[in-house]
């Protein structure tokens, strides 16, 4: 698209015969070998391996909690992440995680542009996998181009069907792995195989099969160029110090055929290293000609670097005509200044500092997390009640959550109202007249707590404080509310 500033439909003179939309140009990326391709294979294997296998990792949490290391238990409202157990009222941890993820993305961007897009983005990873399957069955760039040009033979039809079948299997297994995060994985696999799993599991597998198949099989680079907002956002975040896949035009230009360039060089005339072989364009999964400079479509995968290095090796010129480099360095070389590395600069320090701060806050709050949680809600109707002896009573709904793995007893006390009397419905009063609630492991108890004043001489509103004390450990949770009177 970079080389078609005016698309055919725009130059058409009449609306009747105009195509409605410029069609997508099919891209046939060529196979390539090299350093970055190897890194991408490794990243692909590791990320997909984690995604597909993680649900099967076990984690012993005792008899009252599931043994799956990572589990989103929607029915019970729990999220298990190794030793961490998150309750619904703690979803802010996820907010923290999202903030952290965004910041890490910013930092990555400041250091090396769109590395996320080129190596780690699920769209890139799955598309890469689908390309690998395609190449394995239908052959490399030239074969595929030829097959698509020629009439469909029985052989190609069979190849194409096989390709789509394998694609669908991968997509299906992608959806399958997804649902395993929401239930005990081995059990669910058995249920799925015997068609006993809940309907919703099949629905989700269906949805993810469909999206994976379409996005990685057909939409491919269009997702990155047209649908994803990140290239647009990151363009605003990046700067001339960020490492980006760069064509070193200071070295490559003027380009020409190998023979011509060599001849020029012999005559002492300026000649670039680029021999205009188009290898960098052929291998590019988004069809970019990197020699035109940094572009929106480029996902920074580094494959053009590998391709060009192969060429440079063959023609005996220094490697890295295309490389991860900064705009500043190219300018510096042209102007005869020395190159500088600028990874540590205000922007990166700033991002790294915020990441450290947010991370430390999260770890701190996780470490200091209480194992008991108290919430108190004042009755709204009626706000207060007269008792027969003239005193005033307020009702509260008290919720106690026990996040321990064993049953605990808690004593509830109230302060702030002199001579206040505490009573409970759905709990018990022990020998000392203390209100005590027993809560089972990993459970929440709701009780009605009644606070009465001594006599009727109470101000219309008094601040009171509830304290819940774990009788086993002495841990406390506090909560403030009001005592209302006429």
């Amino acid at each position: 698209m970079a080389d078609a500033p005016v698309s055919p439909s725009l130059t058409n003179s009449g609306p009747e015969d105009a195509p409605l939309y410029a069609p997508r140009k099919q891209i046939y990326p060529q196979a390539v070998k090299g350093r970055f391709r190897t890194i991408k294979w490794v990243v692909l294997a590791v990320t997909l391996g984690i995604y597909y296998l993680l649900p099967f990792l076990r984690w012993d949490r005792g008899p009252h909690a599931p043994d799956q290391a990572i589990l989103v238990d929607l029915a019970q409202g729990r999220f298990y992440f190794f030793f961490i157990e998150i309750w619904p009222q703690e979803v802010y941890y996820f907010t923290g995680l999202l903030v952290l993820a965004a910041l890490v993305l910013f930092l990555m961007n400041a250091v090396a542009g769109r590395v996320w897009c080129g190596y780690l983005c699920p769209q890139t990873v799955w598309t890469d996998l689908f390309y690998a399957v395609e190449r394995w069955i239908e052959g490399d760039r030239r074969d595929r181009m030829r097959k698509d040009r020629e009439k469909l033979t029985l052989k190609t039809a069979a190849q194409k069907s096989l390709k789509h079948f394998i694609w669908l299997m991968i997509a299906w297994w992608t959806g399958g792995a997804w649902v395993l995060y929401f239930a005990d994985a081995p059990t669910l696999v058995r249920e799925l195989a015997t068609f006993q799993a809940p309907m919703i599991a099949y629905v989700w597998i269906g949805i993810l099969t469909f999206t994976t198949y379409t996005l990685a099989g057909f939409m491919r680079e269009q997702v990155c160029t047209y649908m994803c907002p990140w290239p647009r956002i990151q363009a605003a975040l990046t700067d001339e110090y960020a490492l980006n896949v760069t064509y070193r035009y200071d070295r490559g230009e003027p380009r020409g055929s190998m023979k011509k360039n060599e001849a020029m060089r012999l005559q002492g005339q300026p000649a670039g290293d680029c021999i205009d072989c188009y290898q960098c364009v052929n291998v590019c999964p988004t069809g970019v000609d990197i020699r035109k400079g940094l572009q929106l479509d480029c996902i920074q995968c580094g494959l053009c670097i590998d391709a060009c290095n192969t060429v440079m090796e063959k023609i005996n010129r220094p490697l890295n005509l295309i490389a991860y480099d900064t705009e500043m360095n190219v300018k510096a070389r042209i102007e005869g200044r020395s190159e500088t590395r600028h990874i540590v600069r205000p922007r990166t320090i700033f991002y790294a500092a915020i990441i450290a701060l947010v991370g430390a806050t999260m770890i701190g709050s996780l470490a200091m997390r209480r194992t008991v949680y108290l919430s108190v809600m004042h009755d709204r109707n009626p706000l207060y009640v007269h008792l027969s002896d003239g005193s005033i009573r307020n009702g509260f709904t008290v919720r106690v959550a026990n996040k321990n793995l064993d049953e605990r007893s808690y004593a509830l006390t109230v302060e702030g109202l002199s001579g206040a009397k505490l009573d409970i419905v759905g709990g018990e009063i022990d020998q000392q007249g203390q209100v005590v609630v027993k809560v089972g492991p990993d459970q929440t108890l709701e009780a009605r707590v009644l606070v009465s004043s001594q006599g009727s001489d109470v101000p219309p509103s008094t601040d009171i404080h509830f304290t819940l004390t774990d009788l086993a450990t002495g841990d406390t949770a506090r909560m403030s509310d009001y005592f209302k009177a006429p």
């Binding site: 439909s9 003179s13 409605l20 939309y21 009640v385 008792l387 027969s388 002896d389 003239g390």
Partner: protein, 294 residues
């Protein structure tokens, strides 16, 4: 479409214009994106199909029913049935257990309270208020004062058969109209009203003859309200010594009560609500805070 408009080509882009011009800014006649058009066509087809399949168009006194025969009522019924199914285990447990057993079992108790709360909102809230706070003449169910008793059994009995209701088993007994029926004179009513106020420590009128009031009380009121005015639950006669007044504690209100008599009515719920719901209601009302334990 654009036959009568002169074809004009925009010099910069080389595209024909639609001929529309606003302040010399002209509209290019570019084709619409194909995916956009298809989406648009699809929504039209969808809308037509929807109108055929589902209830859609209002008519004068009814509406088009749609060929699928879908009704929101049916959908609700399916959901209600599913809900009932979901709760049936607990409901059966409630039905089989006694009130005390339910109260001892935290899980059943919580379920009963939740169900009772819902039933209370539907049936009892119009008189007793959404939270059972009561109103003038309608008892507050949160306090510790009970006209007919506040134990689980007594509350259940009251809910089942009502008060001065159509049921033979309902509570009966009401306060006579001492003034209207000529049993007491105006003067005497005033004296006994003062005396009653003094029972719960309320201030009395200046120069009130409390001794006379006491005598009138002993002769006329003690039979129901007890010799000390402490009330009698078998008759639903309120305790006059406490600080809770169903109709109010002003002298005028008390005089009015003695003059015309009192006797509120609560309907009988047996037959209108099933047994389990009544059980749940009982536990809910008992748990509001005033419930008495035997």
């Amino acid at each position: 479409m654009a036959h009568d408009i002169q074809e004009k080509v925009d010099a910069v882009s080389g595209v024909t214009t639609t001929g529309h011009s606003w302040d010399n800014i002209e509209e290019l006649n570019n084709p619409l994106p194909r995916w956009w058009l298809w989406t648009f066509y699809f929504t039209i087809v969808w809308a037509i199909a929807y109108c055929i399949a589902y209830p859609a168009w209002p008519l004068v006194s009814s509406y088009t029913k749609g060929v699928l025969g879908w009704q929101s009522r049916d959908a609700v019924e399916v959901e209600l049935a599913a809900l009932k199914d979901l709760r049936s285990g607990m409901t059966a447990k409630l039905a089989a257990s006694s009130l005390d057993e339910i109260k001892q079992d935290p899980e059943m108790f919580a379920f009963a309270r939740a169900q009772g709360k819902a039933a209370f909102g539907d049936n009892c809230a119009p008189c007793h208020g959404a939270g059972g706070g009561g109103a003038k003449g309608y008892p507050n169910l949160n306090d510790d004062d009970w006209l007919w008793g506040g134990s689980l059994e007594q509350i259940q009995q009251t809910i089942r058969f009502g008060v001065r209701s159509t049921s033979d088993e309902g509570h009966s007994g009401s306060m006579p109209a001492f003034g209207r029926d000529g049993m007491l004179k105006r003067e005497e009513i005033s004296q006994v009203a003062d005396y009653v106020r003094s029972l719960s420590g309320l201030p009395t009128d200046k120069g009130a003859d409390l001794a006379a009031g006491e005598k009138i009380f002993a002769d006329n009121c003690a039979a129901c309200h007890g010799t000390t005015g402490q009330g009698m639950q078998e008759m639903g006669a309120p305790n006059l010594t406490d600080k809770i007044w169903l109709f109010g504690s002003d002298k005028a209100v008390i005089v009015e009560g003695i003059n015309n008599g009192r006797g509120g009515v609560m309907p009988t719920w047996q037959g209108r609500l099933d047994d389990t719901t009544i059980k749940a209601l009982t536990l809910y009302v008992h748990s509001l805070g005033g419930g008495q334990n035997p």
